[in-house]
């Protein structure tokens, strides 16, 4: 089977190039990662990330024939030849198929992807109703492979400001969590013009997600919640103003 693989070693190469490999596969080679391991046996200078080999760790995400995906769960029989492999777009290349995901994780961390609950921790776990728990389905499964964010044009053009689909999916995962107490702060955290609203529903994220998740829908729901939250804040603010005016006038009357 023929492969054309992006090669770049910044210590040696002035610019990246594509290298062809023709390899004989064996019956046990079912997935793209199997073939890549076989190539690496022949040429150990090829760099790539891999770990669990079953679509759980998200390490071996790469651009496969123009579309981001995980090598370990991509069937060789589904691929056209030559199989063109490149690093995920939009992030700096460290070497060959390995990209620097610092930016990606900075955005991920910026949404505070952990439960914020200031109540006294219970002796056992914090309980949820089955209905509330069901709201997390389609959100918690994200493996942070980066396939969605690096296929998003809004992220390509605004990598420093746009949180990206993976980060926003995680933001929504904690916004809808019934045990979380920081919903307001989380919504406020996404108010800057480019953090959330750079998403224009291109939906590449939905197209490429190896876990079949829907970041685009999560982003739309955050936008809806932001309107509801802002309307609520406005009404509450008006009410508080009215109450304080009333109190002032009552105080004056008393005086």
């Amino acid at each position: 089977m023929r492969f054309s693989i992006y090669r770049f070693n910044p210590d040696v190469d002035k610019k990246p190039y594509m290298q062809n490999y023709d390899i004989a596969l064996e019956d046990s080679d079912q997935m793209l990662l199997d073939a890549l391991i076989r190539i690496k046996d022949l040429d150990d200078s090829l760099s790539l990330r891999k770990s669990c080999r079953e679509g759980v760790c998200g390490s071996d995400s790469m651009n496969i024939n123009g579309k981001n995906g995980l090598a370990c769960i991509t069937k060789l029989s589904d691929l056209d030849e030559p199989v063109v492999l490149r690093p995920m777009p939009g992030l700096p290349v460290i070497r060959d198929l390995v990209v620097d995901m610092t930016q990606f994780f900075e955005h991920y961390n910026s949404v505070k992807p952990y439960l914020i609950n200031n109540d006294e921790p219970p002796e056992t776990e914090r309980l949820q109703s089955p209905e509330d728990r069901a709201k997390l389905d389609g959100l918690y499964e994200c493996i942070l492979c980066g396939a969605c964010t690096t296929s998003c044009p809004s992220f390509w053009w605004n990598p420093e400001t746009f949180v990206g689909p993976a980060g926003l999916l995680q933001a929504y995962r904690f916004i809808v969590d019934s045990r979380d107490q920081a919903t307001e702060e989380r919504l406020e955290n996404l108010e800057a013009p480019d953090r959330l609203y750079r998403c224009h529903n291109i939906m590449n994220c939905v197209d490429v997600c190896p876990k079949k998740l829907n970041p685009s829908l999560a982003i739309a729901k955050i936008k809806d919640l932001k309107i509801k939250e802002a309307s609520h804040a406005k009404t509450t603010g008006m009410f508080e103003k009215m109450v304080s005016k009333k109190q002032i006038s009552i105080k004056r009357l008393n005086d």
């Binding site: 108010e191 800057a192 013009p193 609203y197 750079r198 224009h200 936008k223 309107i227 802002a230 406005k234």
Partner: protein
């Protein structure tokens, strides 16, 4: 209530919501225009003139144009932000866009409010 959300307190939401509200105005106007054209079927210049004469239609048309200008500003600004990385070129393009939209808006205002009202006079 929605208008109150279009304040500086919500810079991200303001642009996003504004684009959707203006789109809604344009969609309603487009349906109305299509409905009127199908119902009245203006066939000649005079018919088109009388089509555009009612004051409420001219106000609606002006609203449509204002919405179009705001919608175009927000949309094209985003496109420039993505695809014109050079800040000074982008600044220049944005200035040109503003001038163009204001000129079109002034022209449209004149057409809908001043000219359309006296079009029959101009004809004679």
């Amino acid at each position: 209530m929605v208008i109150e959300l279009l304040t500086k307190r919500y810079p991200g939401m303001r642009a996003w919501l504004m684009q959707r509200l203006t789109a809604l105005v344009m969609a309603i106007y487009s349906v109305m225009a299509l409905g009127r054209i199908l119902l009245e079927q203006p066939s000649d210049y005079e018919a088109w003139l009388s089509f555009s004469q009612p004051w409420w239609w001219r106000v609606a048309s002006l609203l449509f144009w204002i919405s179009l200008s705001i919608h175009a500003w927000l949309g094209i600004r985003d496109v420039f932000k993505d695809y014109v990385p050079n800040a000074s070129v982008r600044g220049l393009l944005l200035k040109l866009l503003v001038v163009m939209l204001w000129v079109y808006l002034a022209w449209a205002t004149w057409l809908f409010l001043a000219y359309a009202g006296s079009a029959d006079l101009v004809l004679r």
